[in-house]
Amino acid sequence: MSMILAIAGVEFRILRRNRWLVIATALLAVFALALTLAGATTSGALGVDLLTVSVASMTTLAVYLVPLVALLMSFEAIAGDAERGSLALVLTYPVSRGTLLLGKFSAHLAGLAIAVVMGFGVAGVLAFALGGAGVDSGLALVRLMAGSVLLGAAFLAFGYVVSSFSRSVAAAAGGAGFVWLILVVLYDLVLLALVVWDNGGTFSRQVFPWVLAANPADALRLFSVTASADQALVSGMGSAVAALPQGAALVSLFAWPLVGLMLARLVFGRRVP
């Protein structure tokens, strides 16, 4: 345990010094603030408070940006050390590969959580200051933050899988981009195409919600809107949510980081430094 903390401490320092922490936080904050201010013009028409609209917009933002930030933090983890030659060195020490991975994961997860809480928190404070926030929408924001951290955790783990596979940092960067494109962009486009093609048939009603929940990025959308009827209203995800048992999205969000880490450990374990 103390080994994991020691590795995490050093990795967190690296995250801070190469400015990743600042960049990630600023990136999320700027987008969240912009969306909140833009939401100020539409919230009246829907009859819900400003933060409700803002959280719905931020959810869409989080689905794209949080995986990206997570992958950017993690893709170098193994391949970078291997390229420097320090991976072979570290592995000659009496420390297991699992410990090494968990140390890096702890640091990256802490960095990601700070970026998410600060970035989205700033938007929450702004909405509150403009008078458009209540208990419900405040809770929705907290849900979004928690869900985003879980989503980020999953993509950190995916980043380690890619990094463990890759011979070089450049290859790992390409692989991370590919993972993001597939899981975050193409997955939804394919689903959309299938739903349109199915035209309200069995697939749309029975299979689609499950396939949606199976993807951690979409699971965040589902998780975020189940908070309240208001959220479902502004995000338009109500029907998919209704077809799933309570907590399906949350299970997906919790399961993927674990599955990802196990997969990363497996691939890392087979790597010859």
Binding site: M3, A6, V10, S86, L89, T92, P94, V272
Partner: protein
Amino acid sequence: MVDRSVLEVANLTRRFKGDGGVSDVSLTVQAGERVALLGHNGAGKSTLMKGILGLLPIDRGRVLIAGHAIGSAAARAAVAYLPEAVAFHPALTGREQLRLFAKLARVHRKEADDLLDHVGLGHAADRRIGTYSKGMRQRLGMAQVFLGKPALALLDEPTSGLDPIARHDLYTLIDGLAAQGTGVMIASHALTEIEARTDRIAILRRGALVADAPLPTLFARAGLPIRIRVEAPGDAGALFARFGGQRINGARVEFAVTPDKKMARLAEVTALGAEVADMEIIPPSLEDLYRHYSQQESSA
């Protein structure tokens, strides 16, 4: 005699698809001994080291590090490694990096701080590694080798790319490491340094161990010719007619003798008196020796 071997390799074999790898290598390293591992690029030096370290699965053979099987926690604690051209994360300071290694090696962080002074990085300990010169990075790498007083240290090309002063400093550190009882194996290309700085030389050729003995033994076994160069006061025609060999210029002749005939030939030369103005004896160089062992096959 008490067995003081810190490394025992028996019939280690690891082949790669196609070419490369090592076959049937057996060798030992005693505590406090410095062994040079020589060989061409691709002769299997790094493969052998990685096999010993447990970084590379081996096909066959047995490796014991201070009596422990490779891969075991005890073996990992007993061995230190310096990879070829290792670079640490540029954003960390030397102290942070070494303290992390100390933690992983389960030794007190005080030892890490002391070692920074020992390798001469005390003044730069709190600067980022990104600002270090190559020599400083290599010294940091040596500092982590010292952590926890390992029984065995494997150094892969520790001096490649260093200037002569930095090399000298590094070898001083290696001597200190051996003096504290660590068995050291150094893979290297730099032949001249090896000569003075190692107790034994092992030569790998195409993955097989072709020599493993102290330097004088290797020289004796190779029986390499000694070259004698004589200079006449005037024209060297008479000397050339007598000794053969080859003429270098008008006044000088160079010829080779086998070690056993050396004294007899020297007596002949000195008996000539004033006919010889000067004489030079050129013993076979380490390079000749290396070439002898690493090319045996192609000449046979």
